[in-house]
Subunit: 170 residues, 2 copies
């Protein structure tokens, strides 16, 4: 499957993977959330090749995740800033960081701590249900086809039948 085909898939995960599903895009976005904005600063802090960095920034701008805005004339220079669409990636970034904090840290402990300005406490992100506010887990969720669904494959039909019969996820 080509990258372009991913964008067209009838699946919100696949379409998002088309935007952030490569080795560098998420790392670039991490830097954006840490207030890195300029080409050479991205390059210095990530060690990405300049070629790839130029390509990825172009892609993120094309998807509307970053905006390229001039910060000086003569010579014209630009910086890359998160759009609202980009800022909305924050829950993805945080849930990735949190999983890494739980499952991938070594004996030195967490590289970074997060403080909530509102309550002043160091926190972890928790994913809850928008309707009842309870924490979510995979086992507590049923999936249903939505209006944008295509007919499901036989493989998926069998899998959903297993779910209906209460077959566990693990």
């Amino acid at each position: 499957m080509k990258w372009d085909a991913l964008e067209e898939e009838p699946c919100s995960l696949a379409r998002t993977v088309a935007v952030i599903g490569d080795r560098w895009s998420l790392l670039i976005l991490r830097e954006c959330f840490l207030r890195i904005r300029r080409f050479d600063d991205f390059q210095a802090s990530l060690g990405i090749t300049r070629h790839l960095l130029a390509d990825r920034l172009k892609k993120l701008v094309r998807f509307g995740v970053l905006r390229k805005i001039p910060y000086q004339e003569a010579p014209k220079r630009y910086e890359y800033i998160l759009t609202q669409k980009g800022l909305d990636l924050y829950p993805i970034i945080m849930s990735i960081v949190h999983w890494g904090n739980i499952h991938m840290v070594d004996s030195r402990g967490r590289p970074m701590l997060h403080q909530h300005k509102a309550c002043q406490k160091m926190f972890d992100p928790v994913m809850v249900c928008s309707e009842c506010g309870e924490p979510l887990s995979a086992k507590a969720v049923h999936v249903h086809p939505g209006p944008g669904a295509r007919k499901s494959s036989p493989v998926h039909a069998r899998a959903q039948e297993r779910a209906r019969r209460g077959v566990a996820l693990d």
Copy 2:
């Protein structure tokens, strides 16, 4: 940078990207959460080449995200099941799906809806602070070096200084 180097980075995001930061791993995991478990079923539903699928399954098993368990002898056949570490990826998957639902769906609407078994309602995932329960946004969070931090680069020092001075994220 090589993939192996990513795993060693003093950053929980980078280390997680080493596990799920390629085009296929997240798609394979999506199938796992939909109760797909067998090689040919993954292959049929994803259209991934058998070569890559074998490689990615091996990687996910190596990282402890999936377990390979036999479901029949003679000939020996295996299926791939999420471990607890794998189930813990659910918030990442859901936040990715949710971002796609908001920013990447076409006119047909969402491909999939989610129902919370506890409250019976269709829901969206919301990320909240573990301490005060309020919804989180990037702008409401301060970052601090944790016990596993390495000395920050000059580039990051300048960026953090900007944050301290209250420079906006966007």
